[in-house]
Symmetry: C2
Subunit: 215 residues, 2 copies
Amino acid sequence: MPKLVARGITVSLDGYMAAPNQSLTQPFGDDGIKIMGWAFKTKYFKKMFGTEGGSEGLDNEFAVNADANVGATLMGRNMFSPLRGPWENEDWKGWWGDEPVYHHPVIVLTHHARKTFELKGGTSFTFVTEGLEAGVKQAFAAAKGKDVRVGGGANTLRQCIQSGLLDELHLVQSRELLGAGESLFAGLGAALKRYEVFEAKASDEVTHYIIKKKA
Amino acid sequence: MPKLVARGITVSLDGYMAAPNQSLTQPFGDDGIKIMGWAFKTKYFKKMFGTEGGSEGLDNEFAVNADANVGATLMGRNMFSPLRGPWENEDWKGWWGDEPVYHHPVIVLTHHARKTFELKGGTSFTFVTEGLEAGVKQAFAAAKGKDVRVGGGANTLRQCIQSGLLDELHLVQSRELLGAGESLFAGLGAALKRYEVFEAKASDEVTHYIIKKKA
């Protein structure tokens, strides 16, 4: 059975996915990017950004595995674009250049309809306005038997947990303290109790948790 | 220099020190006691409760170390007693029986004055009504050059972080998800950014973090 998964979701030790004051130039808020330090040190990320070297241990293994068997990505509109409200035109094609990193269909949850478009390397963007369940359904159809990965942001991920649609979460807990910001867990309540930690492994940088929905 | 330390402070993976509905019979709230599972498995805890066996690895080492070089304990009134408001009499002597586990002076922060009393084995309880700083000062005087350990509860510990008086926190992150409860970190804001993770070690049960105030 293909699964709805979220991977490489990184939080500070105090549970925040981003610090306050997120903006176009600071998507992780004031100084929040430091929680991603573990990823930037891996060989996999360095290669993605076109540089050599990088770590090859546990963190790199998890980074590589995050993309394994993924047939489609589901994301919220705020992850696709810094623009809000109705699309004034169709110029914005995402953050990821002419040939995005995905190489598979991306389903964007939005309140504002827009036509599907394709970019180089097999990445297409399809906009779904009928809500989370419709988006998940369409993403599974597009994934053709593979898993669907929830890209983010926090709001979309929280909806996937709240609804119980998420099957698996690879959580990365950084050792940075942010003090404030966008909490992954706050207010999830009983919805979170349907999940349990299946595996935990610590590297020198972070602790990785595989969290699964209870059978 | 003697330090103000908190040790063995255990939170769920989603950051709660206790689940909702704390009560006299359920001090960790509904099903919240499971976050302490790691401690109950250690040789140190088993011995404390008069039973044999128990684990001798990393978790046990941290449990043993939690009591090292401690000359006095500081706690909030709600940790000392389930009673609220002014003392109707002086019958309540704490949860810990005739010979409490402390074997040193305990300073209780309270709004309601009460006389110091002593129990067997070197444990005394002194009640301070002049607030956190006065309590800390008195605890250091009582500790005679050793460290002062903050016993809890959450409110007292959060005050110690907020004020910057806490020097060191040994945080234990369990792999249980509670969904709701008493958050250790929520709302600490900039106060928490004065601290940093100094050491992190994972066992099969939990991840231990030593968090220190920045120099």
